[in-house]
């Protein structure tokens, strides 16, 4: 036993302050996608099982057949439903018109001509106006100070945008709004003084 054992124990008993919530969220934002690459799964069922109080053997003996019966009945219902759905889908597929395997440069779908696409799709294919685009700034994340190759320190700022694209079809008064997230990183030189 070392002469410093007691002292070491006393020191270990002192706990450093935990990082603030604000700081942790700052780190989370700075990590970006790298933070979500490795995840661990938490099984909620396990937690629930732990929370359920254990019932007596007497109760279990009477409830077990009821549960088993319900499970078998539910399984039969499920199988019947699936069989019916599959049959219906097959019938619908048989009713679809045949698509000609031909190339149409204007068509966005390979093997389907524009006219076929128009007849098959519920959406109009021609007559769309040029899209209206809009850039929406969502948030600004300060990722701290970084060193640049020229030796001048810089503050790294990441800005999250949402690009909105609005497609309009005046004939049918249809509108399609598409949102695409985008990020830009800026390096702001810090003044040396």
């Amino acid at each position: 036993m070392s002469e410093f054992d007691d002292l070491e124990k006393e020191l270990s008993a002192l706990k450093p302050k935990n990082p603030s919530v604000h700081f942790v969220s700052r780190v989370e934002e700075a990590l970006g996608d790298a933070g979500t690459i490795a995840v661990r799964r938490l099984d909620e069922r396990e937690k629930r099982v732990e929370q359920i109080p254990r019932k007596s053997l007497f109760t279990s003996i009477f409830t077990l057949p009821v549960i088993l019966g319900s499970t078998v009945f539910a399984s039969l219902l499920f199988i019947a439903y699936i069989s019916f759905s599959v049959l219906s889908e097959q019938r619908e597929a048989n009713n679809l018109p045949n698509v000609a395997a031909q190339e149409d440069d204007d068509s966005p779908l390979h093997g389907v001509s524009l006219s076929e696409l128009e007849s098959l799709s519920a959406m109009p294919v021609r007559g769309w106006l040029d899209p209206i685009t809009n850039e929406r700034k969502l948030r600004r994340v300060d990722e701290g100070v970084v060193d640049q190759p020229n030796g001048v320190p810089a503050r790294k700022v990441r800005i999250h945008f949402m690009d909105e694209t609005l497609w309009r079809h005046p004939a049918s008064d249809m509108r399609v709004l598409s949102n695409t997230p985008r990020q830009e990183t800026y390096l702001i030189d810090l003044e040396l003084y």
Partner: protein, 177 residues
């Protein structure tokens, strides 16, 4: 089934220790946070996909970045520099109503230690690193680490009773600052 990013559990376990170490490398508490953020993000982006990162790597990165920043900032007049000097080390630890005078005296004594001994003590006691890991983190030999640690503990053993005596008023009560 729900999922949680692994880094959160990792940071909950090591974040406080990293900040404590960074405070000794930084000029103020804000810079300490910047250091931890920069070092952790750099290391996690490199090795985070494995799901586990050695804390020694992050301590090492903190130290390296602190040195780089200090070099680039040498010419600056650091106005905030005094902030850390005025901030007692006890503020970096959990406040505990039951924290007795001895613990306060202990922290004051740690604060009096030379920087080199303080960082070895911090990495060993609160960072829970081995002497070998500390040697690699600080780029010094294993013997130097061991001797600095031993010197630090001897000084604390000697200083803590003095600090305790200073806190006790002539009437036998404790002094209140």
């Amino acid at each position: 089934m729900i999922s949680e990013p692994i880094w959160k559990a990792w940071f909950a376990k090591h974040g406080a220790k990293l900040l404590l170490f960074a405070r000794q490398q930084a000029r103020n508490s804000y810079e300490a946070e910047d250091l931890v953020q920069e070092a952790f993000v750099r290391i996690w982006r490199l090795y985070g996909h494995t799901g586990e990162v050695s804390s020694g790597l992050v301590y090492r990165a903190i130290r390296r970045i602190a040195i780089d920043w200090a070099r680039s900032l040498d010419r600056r007049k650091i106005r905030e520099q005094k902030v850390l000097l005025d901030t007692p080390m006890s503020s970096a630890f959990e406040t505990n109503l039951e924290k007795d005078e001895r613990q306060q005296a202990l922290l004051k004594s740690v604060e009096r230690l030379p920087k080199e001994q303080k960082e070895v003590l911090t990495l060993k006691i609160w960072g829970e690193l081995t002497f070998d890991e500390i040697a690699r983190t600080l780029d010094i030999s294993l013997n130097t680490v061991a001797s600095r640690y031993r010197y630090a503990l001897s000084k604390l053993k000697e200083w803590v009773p003095d600090e305790l005596e200073e806190n006790i008023s002539p009437t036998g009560g404790t002094s209140h600052e």
